[in-house]
Subunit: 437 residues, 2 copies
């Protein structure tokens, strides 16, 4: 102590045979990482284990410790390389992550998750998280918004529940959310994590910290124009503890342009590189985010954000229930059609005319169609039922937390709650809130 | 402080329309719970939300706080009732839980998980876990063993990672494992949780603490005879902290026989009721399970257990890979058959004779068959691929932990490691171990 910690995060865009120049870009990423020697490297979209093993071999000298999180059909795409021993790893797969039939989007097959590794650096317990959330394909009509809100909720829940013993918390990854998005506000407000971009001493990178920019030759420029020519969706967050103060001294990003001497950029996303400075906090004066977060204002803000998120999840429940209902109706229709067909074939007088039997070809074709409809809609019914359950679970957790926050707010003296409508909480009868858990 | 905490756990066998006398038994369970007024009630197999709501209404006076965990198709079946405010809830769904095509076993549809609720009792943070693991249908040839080992691993991982700030930890539920089973040894050894049955001051219940007994009229007696007439698969565990000593003063179970004045028992499982005694531990002399667990002997034992579990998971990986291979082969066969059929239909000379065209009915029947084979085996291929990934992830985590434990063992002075073959760890070159993460 004090300790300097360099953290790197990059979405590698590593879909073999589909992403452009995949192999060459991995070689470039490997070269860059061995040269830069960051303490912790957090990668996303490393979809192929072969590519991870390639990097592992290449970084054997500089980053002897690594972990590749496996989940879903393709894997989670998450990988960590570290100069410090990785003592433990844990994976939390998000309960919702798109739909399997949206195969062209592919998120469902990726088994998106948040991975955690435990490092001990200079006697400090450093909890490092890496994640990748569901992509946003259309900002105006984002049908995946409830899923991403659920993921953001589970991410903050996972971090909060697993970090009680941490001296330092680091989270990096592609969150697929803009800084002001609901999920981002929820994550920051609930965990007290600090965004390197807003907290850094010095910054060198794209305008407004964008990590998906027009200058990048791999970018689909048409999609970015309505969004102002760039978006910030990749982040590095940090948090200290009573024991340790953490500061972000500098943050840099690649700038979309092709690096000198290279044929193309490392990825279609920009890479983040943060220099963190860890120093012992004075007893009692520590960077206790918990204390900071316990002000009435912060709690009240969190109540509002969780309530907003709950509304979004409720909309998701409504949509998922409607889809489940449609699937159920189609199952019944398929079943009725099948029974009708069998009846017509079995009882000739039901057919068009007694002298005109049910044509065999039509019978088999119709039968196959009914069977296909029945099977696929049954699977869809199961899928939507599971979606409803997962959304309802998140909504229940949110309701519980809002109730708990209201209780904590009631404990604050009225004077402290300037402008935060303490009366609202006073008026609420505890009996009506608490048993509703 | 000191505090007495009464904990209840029961697998309710609540499959509507399939479990015998379901509604009446819930009424009995509700009556029993309102009379006994346990502090914390942990229920499993509450498959219907309607039944949970029935209990919630019934227990409104005695247990005003409750939480029902939703997951999977039917739900997780897990419910908590509490006399103390529930401040937060979190759910971890196990990554493996049987197969959807084993619908008659039904585990996959249940979305089995471990649920956590946070209680604050007399200023103490009490972390309460409830879980239900995959059932064991055949002890001799248990094809679900790797899944249950993965679940036990994830359970201990979840508890360990989320309990750093806990003063008291309580785990209850139907673990579907006998006390000496691999998963149980793993759970106890890794978390330091103590089994109420072995630690209790007084015990009143079935012989050997059995919770699935011949005397219960709902029990399938044929299945229990080879297992010695009873098994213990339901548990209540506890753990203290530096701040709090926890003791189990008494444990009781129902005894299979019909309760006085009732027509049948509460369930096909026996209910557990544990009286825990929480008192402040003397500074430095606390029930610090962490310190107790850090002896070389304990670490060495844990290494052996995790290694054994890893072997079991490796067997699982092998089986899942074989199944995936079979599925892939069948997908290819289905595809070849479909192409061949289309070719025969399209090019008449390929058919049996030029004057004998491919019969239409046969064409459609074969086509439908090929399509069904293709669809189902593709789904199976995806399922087995996900199983392989989940098993491999667990194996990787286990390897990491074994490496980390070896490191900690090397730090012990040789004299301490009596009989635990310290030399074995000395001889091992760290370089060969660590980069293997």
């Amino acid at each position: 102590m004090p300790v300097r910690l360099r953290v790197f995060s990059l979405n590698c865009w590593g879909i073999r045979y589909l992403s452009k120049h995949c192999a060459q870009r991995y070689a470039m990423i490997g070269d860059h990482l061995s040269k830069e020697q960051h303490d912790v490297v957090l990668l996303q979209e490393v979809w192929s284990e072969g590519d991870f093993l390639f990097l592992k071999k290449k970084l054997g000298g500089t980053h002897p410790f690594s972990y590749y999180f496996k989940s879903g059909f393709f894997g989670s795409g998450l990988a960590v390389f570290s100069r410090h021993t990785i003592h433990d790893a844990f994976l939390y797969k998000y309960s919702l992550n798109g739909y399997p039939y949206m195969a062209h989007h592919g998120d469902w097959f990726g088994g998106k998750a948040v991975g955690k590794v435990l490092l001990k650096i200079s006697g400090l317990m450093v909890h490092v998280f890496v994640t990748h959330l569901h992509a946003e394909y259309c900002r105006e009509q984002d049908s995946y918004l409830p899923h991403r809100v659920v993921q953001a909720w589970e991410l903050q829940n996972f971090i909060q529940h697993t970090c009680a013993g941490a001296d330092v918390v680091i989270l990096g990854g592609d969150l697929n959310m803009h800084p002001g998005d609901l999920g981002m506000r929820l994550l920051r407000s609930a965990t007290g994590l600090q965004d390197c971009f807003t907290e850094t001493g010095t910054f060198d990178g794209c305008e407004q910290g964008f990590t998906h920019v027009m200058d990048n030759p791999f970018t689909n420029k048409q999609g970015l124009i309505p969004l102002g020519g760039g978006i910030r969706i990749d982040y590095v967050f940090f948090k200290g503890s009573r024991k340790v103060d953490v500061r972000c001294e500098s943050l840099s990003t690649t700038k979309g342009v092709v690096p000198p001497g290279q044929p193309f950029p490392y990825s279609d996303h920009e890479a983040l590189s943060a220099d963190l400075f860890l120093c012992p906090s004075e007893e009692g004066k520590g960077d206790s985010t918990q204390e900071k977060d316990n002000t009435a204002g912060k709690l009240s803000e969190l109540v509002n954000i969780v309530t907003e998120a709950r509304t979004e999840v409720k909309v998701g429940v409504h949509c998922a229930k409607r889809m489940r209902y449609t699937a159920a109706r189609t199952v019944i229709m398929g079943l009725v059609l099948l029974i009708l067909e069998i009846a017509i074939a079995a009882v000739p007088c039901l057919a068009l005319g007694a002298d005109q039997p049910f044509p065999k070809t039509t019978f088999y074709l119709l039968g196959a169609l009914c069977f296909a409809v029945l099977l696929s809609t049954t699977l869809l019914y199961i899928l939507y039922s599971m979606e409803v359950k997962a959304l309802q679970e998140t909504e229940d957790q949110m309701r519980l937390v809002v109730g708990s926050l209201h209780e904590r707010l009631r404990e604050f003296p009225k004077a402290v709650c300037k402008g935060h409508s303490q009366k609202k909480y006073d008026r609420q009868d505890p009996a009506t809130l608490e048993p509703d858990q």
